[in-house]
């Protein structure tokens, strides 16, 4: 019988109460710390987003609050994997200046690669950065700006400055370096950037429409 194995076992409700007290104390302390840190964390996150946006946009003038002027779009062909892509818009006196597109490259070696792409209104890339990835350490992670200059190779490029067949890694006959032992990673990044540029070119007016409906441009351009 259970009673005989635990002769001094106290009533169940006492144990439950004691455990509930510990849980409540833990939750209470965490709630306090959450309250204490919430504003700081939010400010830090905003600052981090803004820093990233400024990094890919480079020195441009705009007068709107960049990280609040955004739309979310989807496109089954150019943004594969049912992703909702965020586009931040930079404007000066209401006129479009540039945009930052946050998207995922879906065909990396290991999972999604989260990218931030800054593009001027005329279609020229101002900068690209990798926000997060799970590529092989020591091989695929040279796409990070912190580890190599490779990602700077996109700066100043556009769909007109570099012909379409050149938007590939050198092994595929294109104009971008691959890494020793890691071809899939840069290939995925190059492809995602090219597709995003194509989306930007085809949907420019909708992206910068002054009053964009909450459901943003959805139509994939014909011919892809």
């Amino acid at each position: 019988m259970p009673e005989s194995t635990l002769p001094h076992s106290p009533p169940m409700w006492k144990s439950a109460t004691a455990l509930a007290v510990v849980a409540a104390a833990g939750a209470g302390i965490l709630a306090g710390i959450h309250e204490l840190t919430r504003d700081d964390i939010e400010a830090q996150q905003q600052r981090a987003v803004l820093t990233q946006l400024e990094q890919v946009l480079g020195p441009i003038t705009h007068d709107n609050v960049l990280h609040q002027d955004l739309i979310r779009v989807s496109d089954t062909v150019l943004f594969p994997g049912d992703q909702l892509v965020e586009i931040f818009r930079a404007r000066q006196d209401g006129q479009p200046v540039a945009a930052v597109i946050r998207l995922l490259a879906k065909d990396g070696y290991n999972g999604d690669i989260s990218l931030l792409l800054g593009v001027h209104y005329d279609g020229e890339i101002s900068g690209v950065r990798v926000l997060a990835h799970k590529e092989t350490p020591g091989l695929g992670d040279d796409i990070e700006f912190a580890r190599s200059d490779w990602i700077l190779g996109f700066d100043g490029l556009s769909l007109t400055a570099r012909p379409r067949q050149q938007w590939a890694v050198k092994r595929d006959g294109g104009g971008f370096d691959q890494f020793t032992g890691a071809t899939m990673t840069p290939r995925a990044v190059v492809k995602a950037v090219r597709l995003a540029l194509e989306y930007f070119e085809s949907n420019k007016d909708l992206i910068f429409a002054p009053s964009v409906p909450s459901e943003a441009p959805n139509a994939a351009p014909e011919g892809h």
Partner: protein, 209 residues
């Protein structure tokens, strides 16, 4: 009877080293030890968590009924790790961005609940705090040794990416030990972590024979 502080340190750092003798906490140990800086960062966070959890468990040890002590420790440890994570996110945001994913990994380190059960629940707060620190330092030492070995073999360098932990000025700390080195890829991959951990355990046993 409470052991002397000297014995606590000897045990934590060497005789009962968490990573190399007790073989506890291997999940974070193997996952993170690709470079010295990653290893140090997780090691420091573990020292902090382990010291705090040992201290807290020791302070409430007489209030807790034995049959609920394990779930109570789990709650305490989870709360402490979350508190450490939130504080880092608020006040050391850049550090958090480079280490953020490692911090929750500390919860998976069974050495923490192990020390709570085998030491902190039986000893007064101050020795428990010292034990948490010593055990954490021993874990940090094992991480450091494994991180240094793997970074040297895998990248031919030491202390790369020091700026993630120590700030922008520290980028110059990187030592290129083997110039023009292509890297021994296995050292950075998970399989290499197991192999080099095996060598480290063998080395420690040989030194301690």
């Amino acid at each position: 009877m409470t052991p002397s502080y000297r014995k606590i340190f000897n045990d934590g750092l060497w005789h009962k080293n968490t990573g190399l003798v007790a073989l506890l906490g291997l999940c974070p140990l193997l996952a993170v030890s690709t470079t010295i800086i990653n290893s140090l960062a997780l090691g420091l966070a573990t020292i902090l968590t382990l010291s705090l959890s040992n201290l807290t468990v020791s302070m409430v040890r007489t209030l807790l009924r034995p049959e609920i002590r394990i779930p109570a420790y789990v709650l305490i440890i989870a709360s402490i790790v979350t508190a450490v994570e939130l504080s880092m996110q608020a006040w050391f945001h850049d550090l958090y961005l480079s280490l953020g994913i490692f911090i929750p990994l500390i919860v998976t380190n069974c050495a923490i609940i192990g020390r709570a059960e085998s030491f902190a629940s039986r000893h007064p707060p101050l020795p428990a705090l010292v034990d948490g620190f010593a055990t954490g330092a021993g874990f940090c030492l094992a991480l450091f040794a494994l991180g240094a070995t793997r970074e040297l073999m895998g990248h031919g360098s030491l202390l790369r990416d020091a700026q993630f932990l120590l700030g922008e000025g520290a980028a110059t700390l990187q030592l290129t030990i083997i110039p023009h080195y292509d890297g021994f890829r296995l050292a950075i991959l998970p399989a290499g972590a197991f192999i080099f951990l095996g060598f480290l355990i063998a080395l420690r046993s040989w030194l301690a024979r």
